[in-house]
């Protein structure tokens, strides 16, 4: 491996590269899928001799712990770090330490503010807009929706909700209340149950990923599935419920939030380490928006359910850039 500082721009391409992954939360299947997918893609590169080692730092920890993770990766002499950050801002200083040692850093899932880092993420606002648009269309102008969000103050939550709220305002949809379900299915279910009891005339629920299944069960338990529209998610557990309810005319939408973002980032990292530059227009500041792979809706449901239906409930429908697609981001 090479730990001589050769900076982002002058990548000398002395393969094989060592790649580090820092993941500060393991209490979710999505993250597991992310790590597993990365390991698979890495194995291909490894077979080709492009990379030699993937150092995985993955544990439940806080910002301080993640700083320690990244410092450990730096001390391990990696060439690039792919990080799913626990904070949008609080890792900035340690990122500077990394780039100071000539390490390329890529943030996935959640963009960070540091300019030393290349964000390889989907556009969370866009992601939220798609389902909010759909829901607004379903309930129509003057319709009443309640919202089950993730964790207040969490950047992705704020970004998503900011975009969705705008959609609802523009469409003249009334947002009755916003509650937090901690991105947790059981909490989502309990919160929704409470909301249903106190808001008798709800037409729709907008929720984020991880909680749609709980929201569905709450609405179903209240026997109001026929009157309340739910914005769903592209996970097998929810899609199974969706599939069963389709017979009664239930409709929903699931926008893919791909764990495979890590794979896309790996492709980018190899390109950058090889010394290639991002093409103009593909990068906005320091953020590369990878496209949202696809959306599951009434028209595409059968196709995707056929592909993923045998996976476990926690499986998220996935997608990542191919190597060629990733290469198109570069000059």
């Amino acid at each position: 491996s090479s730990d001589d500082g050769d900076g982002g721009d002058g990548g000398s391409g002395d393969q094989p590269y060592t790649i580090g992954l820092s993941n500060g939360f393991v209490g979710s299947e999505w993250r597991t899928q992310m790590v597993d997918g990365l390991e698979e893609a890495f194995a291909e590169y490894e077979a080709e001799g492009v990379v030699d080692e993937l150092v995985v730092e993955s544990a439940d920890t806080d910002v301080n712990g993640q700083i320690q993770q990244i410092r450990n990766l730096i001390n391990r002499g990696v060439d690039a770090i792919i990080v799913n950050p626990n904070s949008e801002t609080a890792l900035d200083a340690v990122f500077r330490e990394a780039t100071g040692q000539g390490i390329e850093v890529f943030a996935i899932d959640q963009a960070v503010t540091s300019e030393d880092v290349t964000n390889v993420v989907i556009d969370q606002a866009e992601w939220a807009r798609i389902s909010a648009d759909w829901l607004a269309g379903q309930v129509g102008q003057g319709g009443n929706v309640v919202v089950v969000n993730g964790i207040a103050g969490h950047p992705a939550n704020e970004m998503r909700w900011g975009a969705a709220e705008q959609v609802f305002t523009d469409a003249g949809v009334n947002v009755l209340t916003v509650a937090d379900g901690n991105w947790d299915q059981a909490t989502g279910q309990q919160v929704m149950t409470n909301l249903l009891a106190t808001y008798p005339d709800v037409d729709g629920v907008w929720t984020q990923d991880g909680m749609a299944e709980g929201v569905f069960r709450a609405v179903d338990a209240a026997g109001r599935l026929d009157r309340i529209t739910i914005s769903g998610e592209a996970r097998v557990g929810f899609m199974r419920l969706w599939n069963d309810a389709r017979a009664t005319g239930f409709q929903s939408i699931g926008v893919v939030n791909p764990p495979g973002g890590a794979v896309s980032a790996l492709h980018m990292a190899v390109n950058v380490l090889d010394g290639r530059e991002f093409a103009s227009g593909t990068i906005d500041g320091n953020t590369v928006h990878v496209p949202i792979p696809y959306t599951v809706d009434e028209t595409t449901f059968d196709q995707y359910w056929g592909e993923a239906g045998s996976e476990s409930d926690a499986y998220s429908l996935d997608g990542s850039l191919t190597r060629d697609e990733a290469a198109d981001f570069f000059e």
Partner: protein, 324 residues
């Protein structure tokens, strides 16, 4: 055996032996870590390691004082968060305002500590649950002050924090400074009263110790060290985040116990907690550099921490018999 010798033996057995266990753990952790990590003693590795330790060390010192007084503060992490977001809003990237930010952070720590002191000492709520409740207040307020991550700490501060003076990391100096503050406090009447109240509140009360006031002081000191921890985090992270400190709480309790302080109060000291915090952080490093498979890392980490807790308790094992 003469009285003097007996006194010495008592002191060694009572206080220092638990300290010895902690020191032994630290030595082992450092040895293992430097064996597994070839560049452990390099300048970057040293500075970065110590920079990582400071926040936990500071909060552990604060927790120690509260624990010594017979309490427990589960809101310290939330206090760190609140103090850090207030400070980052005040400093707003300008070095000139840094002293003001320090004052603001300390002010927040003081106020939070006073609130905890109020509910625990004057309202006499049970500390574990009372501070659990106040932690909601503090972390909620942190979100009000800084709804989404942002704000920046002057570049000079984050740089200085990572620097070293004559080869000694600044962060190490900060840890030494924290230990010195503790040593000074120990010679103060308030800390003596903290020990007395934690050891036996009834006896202390009957002996003219202002029990309630002492308890309030313990929480206030805890809050002040939480504020110091917040400043270290800001220097470490370079910006504000409304969730940054919450997870430190439970780790601080573990550090205190590994440091040989009795959770029942009245016995121990912050010196051990400083070492305990460092041991905790080193364990994470060791498991990383030992290449434990990812799926088993958390398991090994948990097991090692329990082992450390058990080792820290060995001196207590010696006075086992209940009736003696």
């Amino acid at each position: 055996m003469t009285g003097a010798a007996a006194g010495l033996v008592d002191r060694v057995r009572g206080v220092q032996l638990s300290g010895l266990a902690t020191v032994a753990m630290l030595v082992v952790a450092v040895a293992v870590n430097s064996a597994l990590q070839p560049n452990f003693w390099d300048s970057y590795a040293l500075t970065s390691n110590f920079a990582t330790f400071v926040p936990l060390v500071a909060i552990a010192v604060g927790q120690t004082i509260v624990v010594l007084s017979g309490g427990l503060d589960l809101s310290l992490g939330a206090q760190v968060t609140l103090a850090s977001v207030v400070a980052v809003q005040v400093v707003d990237g300008s070095l000139d305002r840094f002293p003001l930010a320090v004052a603001a952070a300390l002010g927040v720590g003081l106020a939070c500590g006073a609130l905890n002191g109020l509910v625990v000492a004057l309202l006499r709520l049970q500390p574990i649950v009372a501070t659990f409740a106040t932690s909601f207040v503090f972390s909620g307020l942190a979100l009000v002050v800084l709804p989404t991550p942002g704000g920046s700490v002057p570049f000079e501060i984050t740089t200085a924090y990572r620097d070293s003076v004559l080869g000694v990391p600044v962060a190490l100096l900060l840890i030494v400074a924290l230990a010195l503050v503790w040593l000074v406090l120990r010679r103060h009447r308030v800390l003596r009263h903290v020990y007395a109240v934690g050891g036996d509140a009834d006896a202390a009360y009957a002996s003219l110790v202002p029990v309630a006031r002492t308890r309030v002081w313990a929480y206030v000191l805890g809050g002040l060290f939480a504020a110091l921890s917040a400043l270290a985090i800001l220097a470490n992270t370079g910006s504000g985040d409304p969730f940054v400190g919450n997870e430190l709480t439970l780790a601080s309790v573990a550090a205190v116990v590994i440091g040989g302080t009795a959770l029942a109060g009245g016995r121990g000291g912050a010196g051990g907690s400083v070492l305990g915090a460092i041991v905790l952080a080193l364990v994470t490093n060791i498991i990383f550099f030992a290449d434990v498979p990812t799926d088993y890392r958390q398991l090994v980490n948990g097991a090692v921490i329990i082992l450390a807790l058990a080792l820290a308790g060995i001196p207590a094992l010696q006075k086992r018999r209940p009736s003696a």
